[in-house]
Amino acid sequence: MISGNILFRLKGSLEFKCQLDTSNEPHIQKAISQTFEDLCSKVKSESLVFSVCNSPVFIWPNKAGRATPECLSQNSPCKDLQQFIRTDDQEILKSSKKKDKRNSSSVVINLSLMSEVTEPGDLSALTLLTGISKHHFLYTSLPMDCVVSLPTSASLLVVCDALVEALCSQLNEMKKVALQHMKGTAMLIPQPFHFFLPDPVGLVTVIYPAGVPDSQLETQRKELHSQFQLPDNRPYLRRANIFHFPDESYKDGYLRNPHVHLKPPALENSKLYLVQGVYSYHHYMQDRVDDNGWGCAYRSLQTICSWFQQQGYSELPVPTHKEIQQSLVDVGDKQRSFVGSRQWIGSIEVSAVLDQLLGVTSKIMFVSQGSELASKGRELANHFVSEGTPIMIGGGVLAHTILGVAWSETTGEIRYLILDPHYTGAEDLQIITDKGWCGWKGPKFWDQNAYYNLCLPQRPKTI
């Protein structure tokens, strides 16, 4: 994310109507191509309007960037748009503005695609054309979703041109994907996905056909990986890994990455080694399950599963307590009476479930005394660098999730970023960060005499 740039996201729907007179393939290809091309010219017409979401601003991109309200002109710098946008004051936004300077540098302006019907390019009389011809009629709406990143000083005219061009090129991409996956007269709807790839690539948009699972799109991803020069052991381009825009909320209600709102500990000569990617915070009492006092390891396991799901390694939803218990019965680790009980599990069980449900292998680390954890800095740091997955730690009578360490190679001093599953309250980010339910802890956090087992899940090497 280039700071100082604004992300313009244009979403909307274009009507796709195509008449197929015969069912021979080259004709079908031609007809569909033509329809996409017609849409491209439609997008360049004067009746196209961009509506800036949550604001009274409308822009006519093909009329030299004319806009309303009148104080905006084609030469106005696009940052002027921000003053018109009404922001919601949600608590999350407030607290994130206070604590997290990182996210606020990427501003997103959302626009909607509209059409002005009172801009008739053709003023001729109303006619009714009746055509008799047997044909197949293909109809759908194309879900357009374009993103361009421009500096705040860029003029509205530049923004408009960039977005219109993005629309056209997206239509072209959609045409290719649609034709590629055509079966007879069945056309799969091409859908755009945005991915944020490591530097120097940045934000890219890829079109995938709807209804085709990731597992069947491996060849496409291989091509793209080589095109963008991405390593072939990380699923950068799986659908689950789409870029989450800063202003989008998650519909399932779980908090994502609460740790980003924390200030890192002040440790001399130390570096941060943190979990990579996105996880959801799972804790006591969620999902109407009262697991207060016995479910902490289950919740930590859920957090880990959510990580694998959101990085695209698994399409399974986060398992419930019962499902976790059932999978342990399935592998022969527990008796059938285990399902529905309130029995605790430990890191061995956690690694068994990860293997059984997600096909994920884990490394187990054992320390005979809690005090030894202070010396595990290097290993933990290495884990977060190479795997970057959350770690489940169980010992004494408690289970926790380690999301990262702050470790100094020189002094050996260490702090642990802990996500505590024992929290019983609501998804209130303020409370969770203020009260340390997600927070940095020192070596004294651990029971110095108890023994601990750590489950370090390993990333599958796949795309």
């Binding site: 059409s115 002005e116 009389a125 799969l188």
Partner: protein, 481 residues
């Protein structure tokens, strides 16, 4: 309910209702208030029963605008004579004096339906009137009740948009006795078949609609409506077009309106509060923006096997009026959108009624739909409109206006310049100034009108007049192609 009658002078009627309901425990609602244009009073006072043809009564319609608080009546039109080819013999007409059985409800409702097509947005048929001899006064109430329900039912047939809960459903009936010139005003709730007659206030006023703001826009249509395999032309044409139009109407209904380039909150008044009566009549340019809905359920495009297709393409001109007592943005948006939907569906209906469709075997046929023309009736500000088929000329329109609206309009006053005459690239591309009803207002400088636009400049009124003459010539040319 005592009726207080005041005869101001021999030609006018003033009716007020004083409800004795003030003291009742059961709360009888205060009736609706109708503010009626003075000219209507004059028109009504000239109606006699039996009339020159011997009919026992005179029926007619009221045209105006209803708001939640009160209603405005701007025009009264009597039902025209039905061409019954001499079915009315003198013996029948004598009998007709004694009862209202001969009341041709069907004809009244048909007249109402045709008149409602001639109304711009914001105006509608508000009610009916009945002028009878005193002997028939008692029957008159029942007859009026029957009429008002029948009229509303007939007009709502084929309505593309259903009524919203904000729509006023009370319609007015007025009975005038020829001897006493006493007028009885009642309203009925046409959504309630058991509705009883409620009293209403009927007040005359000068210049009810002289400064009603007008809203205009020109809308382009380009609808492709597939005809499913099972449908056969020409029988199913109406069904297909209707379904296609319903989808389009839905999009318009939820579309955004911009007035003078701005979208305002619903309750904002569009006319900056003008207290003085001599307000200048304003015209507002409206823009309508639509969004195509996203459908997320499917993963493949839907495929239908079709036997044909219909394309409705071209430009229509829309016009709507609002009463000028604090008109709000949401009403403005509603009336102009309704006019758009109604004008398209009216023309399609008229086209289908005329049955010009001759049965096409193969290939395609393009036919021009009737074109909208506007007329300004003397004394009222809102323009009314009519539709001119390609093979018609101005005198056909003025004949129709004489019959339907009972008024004489000179051919030159008919504005045919708002919509183009011919289709396709041969069509004249016009953009004209608004019609004669508006006073010259300073041009609005919209941000969306690019000065260096490739499109049309404003055409002066002088050229518009020249085009009226050209129109006749070109329509003849079209016929001969």
């Amino acid at each position: 309910m005592p009726i207080c009658l005041q005869l101001i002078h021999s030609h006018s009627i003033q009716v007020t209702h004083q409800g004795s309901s003030w003291n009742n425990h059961s709360s009888v609602r205060m009736g609706r208030g109708y503010i009626v244009e003075n000219m209507v009073e004059k028109y009504l006072s000239n109606l006699q029963a039996p009339d020159s043809t011997g009919a026992s009564c005179v029926t007619g319609l009221f045209i105006g605008q209803s708001t939640s608080q009160r209603d405005f009546v701007v025009l009264a039109v009597k039902t025209p004579q039905r061409n019954t080819d001499g079915q009315r013999s003198s013996s029948i007409s004598r009998r007709a004096w004694t009862s209202l059985d001969q009341l041709d409800v069907e004809w009244v409702t048909e007249h109402a339906r045709q008149v409602s097509r001639m109304l711009p947005g914001g105006l509608s048929v508000l009610g009916v009137f009945l002028v009878t001899l005193p002997e028939l006064s008692k029957e008159a109430q029942n007859a009026l009740r029957e009429l008002i329900f029948a009229v509303d039912k007939h007009i709502s047939k084929g309505r593309l948009l259903s009524l919203t809960k904000e729509d006023v459903t009370e319609k007015v009936t007025l009975h005038i006795c020829t001897k006493t010139r006493k007028a009885v005003c009642r309203t009925f709730d046409i959504q309630d078949p058991k509705s009883s007659a409620k009293p209403a206030d009927w007040k005359y006023q000068l210049g009810v609609c002289t400064s009603w703001p007008a809203l205009t826009c020109s809308v382009g249509l380009d609808l492709l409506i597939p005809m499913l395999e099972m449908h056969v032309l020409p029988q199913d044409m109406e069904k297909c077009i209707k379904e296609g139009l319903q989808v389009w109407a839905k999009q318009i209904e939820v579309g955004l309106c911009l007035i003078n380039g701005k979208t305002l909150s619903d309750e904002t008044e569009i006319v900056a509060g003008q207290k003085n009566a001599k307000a200048v009549q304003q015209t507002f340019q409206v823009q309508i923006l639509t969004e195509h809905p996203m459908s997320t359920e499917r993963s493949t495009a839907s495929v239908k096997i079709c036997s044909g297709f219909l394309i409705l393409k071209g430009m229509v001109h829309c016009r709507a009026y609002l009463q000028n007592n604090k008109p709000r943005f949401k009403h403005a948006a509603e009336v102009i959108k309704r006019d758009l939907i109604n004008t398209v569906s009216s023309r399609v209906e008229m086209f289908l009624e005329d049955n010009l469709m001759e049965g096409v075997d193969k290939g395609s046929v393009e036919q021009v739909l009737p074109r909208r023309v506007f007329v300004s009736l003397p004394g009222t500000t809102p323009c009314l409109c009519d539709y001119m088929f390609p093979d018609e000329c101005l005198s056909d329109v003025s004949d129709r206006l004489k019959e339907m609206l009972d008024c004489v309009i000179p051919d030159e006053s008919i504005d045919i310049s708002q919509e183009a005459i011919t289709a396709g690239h041969t069509g004249l591309k016009l953009k004209t100034t608004p019609t004669v009803d508006t006073l010259p207002v300073k041009p609005f400088d919209h941000p969306n009108k690019a000065p260096d636009s490739l499109k049309n400049d404003y055409v002066g009124v002088a050229v518009a007049a020249a085009i009226v003459l050209l129109a006749t010539g070109i329509s003849l040319l079209y016929l001969s192609i």
